[in-house]
């Protein structure tokens, strides 16, 4: 139902222009019964006058009118009242006239003589069409207001990178304060190279991938701003790439806070680490008997003190690592690395610890594992953490298997164990900082609760993902996926 300005439904209004009184009257009776507001005109001129005075949703007009013809009336209505739907009544049902009327913008035609049922159907169809048009117009205007009011920057381009829409927030973020941008090429408006690359890449994404590309942008418009940009191609129903949609978020404040936090953690860590180093060395000097004889009991106590301080220093080291990873320093040190070699080294490195617990640690790598672009140190840290955990949380005599394979565009590494497993309700929490699974089996296992969150941060810094599957009592599988290097 069409709504009026107050948003309330109003009766559709219909004008019938025909010189035959019988037809006019017939239409009035049939359409009034439908609850429509019906007006009548005997010829073109008076009909047009009525149209000037008020809005009609549908006009039924006879093609054969004295003086002003039906086609003339149609033309005038189309020119000045585009929201009005015109249906022509053809007195002599020739195809030719009907086609001409349709070509000139009539919505439909109805040949004389017609039954009340035919009339009802054709009018209902016209009203339906009207309502759909109104819906589209309304949705468009609502969308426009919404997009323009967003604090996030939004831009859409067509497949030729011409701008279809760019909201004020977007233009402001890109530092553009010129004239209208609709229809211009994106590279004429945007200077930021990362942004332009993003659009190019989004357009090249294969139709099968439903994904988007993200990047971090920096703009130097007086004060430095940092944005995340997400760019996704959008497709027609047949899967053809029609253009791109980009959304920008200003994350400057977030970044600043993050930096402050990292600086704080680094500072605190360093201030803690230095005195602890000193204390450790002092204890060691006493333990070694360099400061006089030590009794057996004293030695025992000092050794325990050493252990406690050692685990404290480990905690500090990990905090420092996390601060460093989160400050984004890692991502800049990428090089081509041979994961197969790193995996072999890591497994060798941990074989002693595994042997001590009588755990069988094995490695399964497919042949010709491709190299990836990554920070070698980060990769070592990821594997080392996962393998250490697997050994720690697997009872004596168990098995730990490290494997690597290629899956789609990713290098997939699994570290699986036959350990205690992780309770289902805790699976979501294990990557959270300082979180540790605490129960009878794990009570005596020493750890900081930072290992997995470090691993997760490192994996994410490499645009990868980590997931875990586990069954309490049976074991866990940690899976890391890292994008392959494109050469």
């Amino acid at each position: 139902m069409v709504e009026d300005l107050r948003g309330e439904p109003c009766r559709p209004s219909i004008l019938v222009v025909d010189d035959e009184p019988r037809i006019r009257e017939g239409c009035r009776i049939v359409l009034s019964e439908q609850g429509f507001d019906v007006e009548l005109a005997a010829e073109g001129k008076s009909g047009l006058k009525m149209i000037e005075e008020r809005h009609f949703d549908v006009v039924l007009v006879d093609l054969m009118l004295p003086a002003l013809s039906g086609l003339d009336v149609l033309e005038r209505i189309r020119a000045r009242h585009p929201d009005t739907v015109v249906i022509v009544i053809t007195g002599y049902a020739t195809v030719e006239h009907s086609i001409k009327a349709m070509k000139n913008g009539a919505f439909d035609f109805i040949p004389k003589p017609f039954t009340p049922e035919q009339l009802r159907i054709v009018v209902a169809k016209a009203l339906e069409h009207n309502r759909a048009l109104a819906d589209i117009a309304e949705t468009r205007s609502r969308l426009r207001v919404m997009v323009n009011r967003l604090m996030d920057g939004v831009m859409t381009t067509d497949s030729n990178k011409k701008i279809v829409l760019a909201n004020p927030a977007f233009l402001h973020m890109m530092g553009y304060h010129g004239k209208g941008v609709i229809g211009q090429k994106a590279d004429e408006i945007i200077e930021n190279k990362t942004m332009l690359d993003l659009i190019d890449k989004a357009l090249e994404l294969p139709a099968s991938s439903g994904s988007e590309i993200t990047a971090q942008l920096e703009e130097n418009g007086g004060d430095e701003r940092i944005f995340t940009a997400r760019c996704a191609p959008f497709r027609s129903r047949t899967g053809l790439t029609m253009g791109t949609i980009t959304v920008l978020n200003d994350i400057t404040a977030l970044k600043k806070m993050d930096k402050m936090k990292s600086d704080f953690v680094s500072m605190v860590s360093h201030e803690i680490r230095s005195p602890m180093t000193s204390v450790m060395a002092q204890l060691k000097v006493i333990l070694d008997g360099l400061a006089g004889d030590v009794t057996g009991k004293q030695k025992e106590i000092l050794e325990r003190a050493c252990q406690r301080i050692h685990s404290l220093t480990c905690l500090v080291s990990e905090l420092l690592d996390l601060a460093r990873i989160e400050s984004g320093l890692i991502s800049q040190e990428k090089q081509t690395v041979d994961m197969a070699q790193i995996l072999r080294e890591q497994v060798l490195l941990h074989s002693e610890t595994a042997k001590a617990k009588n755990i069988e640690l094995t490695l399964e790598i497919v042949q010709d594992l491709p190299k990836i672009l990554a920070s070698r140190q980060s990769m070592e840290e990821i594997i080392s953490n996962l393998v250490t955990n697997a050994i720690k949380y697997t009872p004596d005599g168990g098995k730990v298997v490290v494997s690597a394979d290629v899956e789609n565009e990713y290098l997939k590494m699994d570290v699986s164990d036959t350990g205690f497993g992780i309770p289902i309700d805790e699976l979501d929490s294990i990557f959270t900082r300082f979180y540790r699974v605490k129960n009878q089996q794990t009570r005596n296992i020493i750890g900081t609760g930072l290992g997995l969150s470090i691993v997760k941060s490192l994996v994410q810094a490499h645009y990868g993902s980590i997931s875990v599957k586990s069954r309490p009592g049976a074991g866990s599988i940690f899976t890391v996926r890292l994008p392959l290097a494109h050469t």
């Binding site: 360093h270 680490r273 180093t277 000193s278 060395a281 060691k284 000097v285 070694d288 360099l290 220093t313």
Partner: protein, 128 residues
């Protein structure tokens, strides 16, 4: 055998210098001490040690800078330098890039918190 070898220990943490010295002396090394980079230069000139255990973060002149100066001087470049790094970040080899973007060539390094026994092994192997 190691009786005559002089080792300079440089750290702004006096307690740590003391502990390291006691351990070194117990292994019959002679020890000189300094508590910042500038003081360390004076000791180097006066006593000409064979090996320096050098902390990185110090007041007045940091360890990176001092190490740089030692390795660039014709007279002292043969002195073995072992860096003590509080932040074991990108230290994987003995030449690495520090804050000001310069590359420092130390002979060896040991990350803090140090294990005194480990430090002694490093000293020993570098003096052979």
């Amino acid at each position: 055998m190691s009786k005559d070898k002089l080792i300079l220990v440089v750290d702004d943490d006096a307690d740590l210098v003391e502990s390291m010295s006691m351990k070194l002396e117990s292994l019959n090394y002679r020890v000189a001490k300094a508590y910042d980079g500038v003081e360390a230069w004076d000791r180097i000139k006066e006593e000409r040690p064979e090996l320096i255990i050098l902390d990185v973060m110090m007041p007045r002149k940091d360890g990176y800078q001092l190490c740089d100066e030692i390795k660039k001087s014709d007279e002292y470049k043969d002195i073995v330098v072992i860096l003590l790094t509080a932040v074991a970040d990108n230290v994987r080899t003995t030449n690495y890039t520090h804050h000001s973007g310069k590359t420092t060539f130390a002979d060896d390094y040991i990350p803090k918190p140090i294990d005194l026994d480990e430090l002694m092994d490093i000293v020993k192997s570098n003096l052979q």
